[in-house]
């Protein structure tokens, strides 16, 4: 019984939150990796692109609610999502045309494009804060829980409860669907293959007749979809705060590099690697061991490896270690 309790405990506080957080990071990291693979620079404006997408989703959600439209048990934001995606695609293409294209045509170094993306980041960040404000926005509606901890206890008779928030399930399912569609697109369709070909060998792609402009537009479209979906899922799960997306940039980049930059499948797994390490190291295992160990061996401390205050340091540490020992990432990717 104690063993089952301890497993339920870990599921509730470690596995489910890490799967949720990992899903959000995974989608984000795929976006960063696509930009790197095709446009060949690390886009620091990505976090704020997520914030922008989520903001439009929130605005449309509010409008829909004012009209009395909702999805019942599901969050209204899911109806608003396509509108947010369209707005994000438009702003991405606008920035590409007005800013990034200039440097691309000049064949600027990637490091210059990184600095340029920092500029875009500040503009987007300011834009979001001007429009919606810097504070917290909760836009989750519909059913909050699929299973409450108490219901689980009553159902199973265990001491430990297992709560499953609807946002957690929605996040996980949406991520799996989005990622599957994306991988199908990249690996099975002619356009998707041409995108990979362009990412792999730009000159040969030109010689094969692949149109770079189409590939670039397509990349921004895919990236905007991923950013908006990831941002909205994160916002639904926690709450919307412009700066939170900027903060997530570090774990997202860590996930990208762990997975091998330029490798979408690696980025997907990388998101989960980062999430599980971060939550696994900051979780206090005391109760877990209380269930498993005999009474006289019970730990007196919290058995928490690292305080949650340092959770960003974990991403950073992983980033540094991977860059030193496996610059290609755990999976095969480009060397930066």
């Amino acid at each position: 019984m104690d063993i089952i309790n301890s497993i339920v405990l870990l599921c509730n506080f470690l596995v489910i939150p890490a799967l949720t957080y990992g899903s959000q990071l995974a989608l984000g990291a795929i976006g960063v990796t696509l930009i790197y693979g095709v446009l060949r620079f690390a886009n620091f404006a990505y976090g704020d692109l997520m914030a922008f997408g989520t903001m439009t989703v929130i605005l449309v959600t509010w409008y829909l609610k004012s009209l009395g439209i909702n999805l019942g048990v599901l969050p209204t934001a899911l109806i608003a999502l396509p509108f947010g995606i369209i707005a994000t695609i438009l702003i991405s293409l606008l920035f590409d045309k007005t800013v990034f294209k200039y440097y691309r045509d000049k064949k600027s170094d990637p490091v210059i494009l990184i600095v340029v993306s920092l500029g875009v980041m500040f503009i987007l960040n300011a834009l979001v804060r001007i429009i919606i404000g810097p504070g917290d926005v909760v836009f989750m509606d519909g059913a909050r829980f699929i299973m409450k901890a108490r219901e689980f206890k009553d159902l199973t008779g265990l001491d430990e409860g297992l709560a499953l928030k609807s946002t957690q399930l929605i996040t996980f399912i949406t991520t799996i669907i989005t990622a599957s569609l994306l991988f199908y697109f990249l690996n099975k369709t002619k356009t998707g293959k041409s995108m990979r070909a362009y990412s792999n060998n730009e000159d040969l792609a030109l010689l094969s007749g692949i149109d770079p402009n189409k590939i670039i537009i397509l990349t921004w479209v895919l990236v905007s979809i991923l950013a908006t979906v990831a941002g909205t899922l994160y916002g639904l799960d926690k709450s919307f705060k412009p700066l939170a997306y900027w903060n997530n940039l570090l774990p997202i980049f860590a996930a990208t590099i762990v997975g091998g930059i330029g490798n979408p499948l690696g980025a997907f797994y990388g998101g989960f690697v980062i999430a599980f390490t971060e939550i696994g190291l900051t979780y206090a295992y005391k109760k877990f061991f209380v269930y498993l160990l005999p009474e006289r061996l019970e730990p007196s401390s919290l058995i928490q490896y690292i305080s949650t205050d340092y959770k960003f340091a974990i991403s950073f540490a992983i980033l540094v270690v991977v860059l030193i020992y496996r610059p290609n990432g755990i999976f095969k990717g480009k060397v930066i």
Binding site: K193, L207, G209
Partner: protein, 234 residues
């Protein structure tokens, strides 16, 4: 008039001209080699013919049509295909995907065309689902040539197809090039292995410091004493 002609080709990178007043001609069903010492401008000449070189002048004529104004991609659409010397395959894609990408502009049945390539290069058929980065040098080169042939071109340009492969593989690749010639394609290649290249070539050009110095049939170039001493190693 030959099928594919480059007239008075001059050009280079930046201000300095690497090639000056070069002329090349190749007919369908013919193999023509461009030979010469390192730095003679062989690859540059090819780039100029493809329109990759920005600073170039001269006239390129394909099937009685001047294509000098066309961009690289449009020249490829009009039937010229190119195998670069390096980075000539998509290393992260499978053999099959490499061929599909080669056929990006091909209007016909891609699968049928791929099967044709597999009859031409049987060895890569076995490897069709393998990532090309994992193949041997000779196999890669075959994938590279097959990729270029996917568009069903009339002119095939090869930049040092046998660079860095063993003598056995070199013979194999030259054999493949002879088979390609039989399909009535105009083959123009730049080669370092001059003697072997001339043996399979109908004609050859020898470039020295950016100028056409000698030209003639393969036999003539192989048997001319002066040329033999200077360029073919005695």
């Amino acid at each position: 008039m030959m099928y594919f002609t480059a007239k008075n080709l001059t050009g280079g990178y930046g201000g300095v001209n690497i090639i000056e007043d070069c002329n090349f001609e190749v007919n369908q069903g013919e193999i023509v080699s461009i030979l010469g010492p390192n730095g003679a401008g062989k690859s540059t000449a090819m780039k100029a013919m493809l329109g990759i070189l920005n600073n170039s002048s001269g006239e390129i004529i394909l099937n009685d049509r001047t294509i000098t104004q066309l961009k690289t991609q449009e020249r490829i659409k009009s039937g010229i295909s190119f195998v670069p010397q390096t980075n000539n395959i998509f290393t992260e894609l499978t053999v099959q995907e490499n061929l599909e990408m080669g056929a990006f502009l091909y209007d016909g049945d891609i699968n049928e065309r791929i099967e044709e390539m597999f009859t031409l290069f049987p060895i890569i058929k076995e490897k069709r689902d393998q990532i090309t980065g994992e193949l041997s040098g000779g196999q890669r080169q075959q994938v590279a040539i097959a990729r270029a042939l996917m568009t069903d071109p009339n002119v095939l340009m090869l930049d040092e197809p046998t660079a860095g492969v063993s003598p056995i593989v070199m013979d194999e690749i030259f054999q493949h090039i002879l088979n390609i010639k039989k399909q009535n394609i105009a083959v123009l290649m730049v080669e370092q292995n001059a003697r072997q290249a001339l043996e399979i070539s109908d004609r050859g050009y020898i470039l020295v410091t950016g100028k056409n110095t000698y030209e003639g049939t393969g036999d003539y170039l192989l048997n001319d004493n002066e040329i033999r001493k200077a360029f073919l190693g005695g």
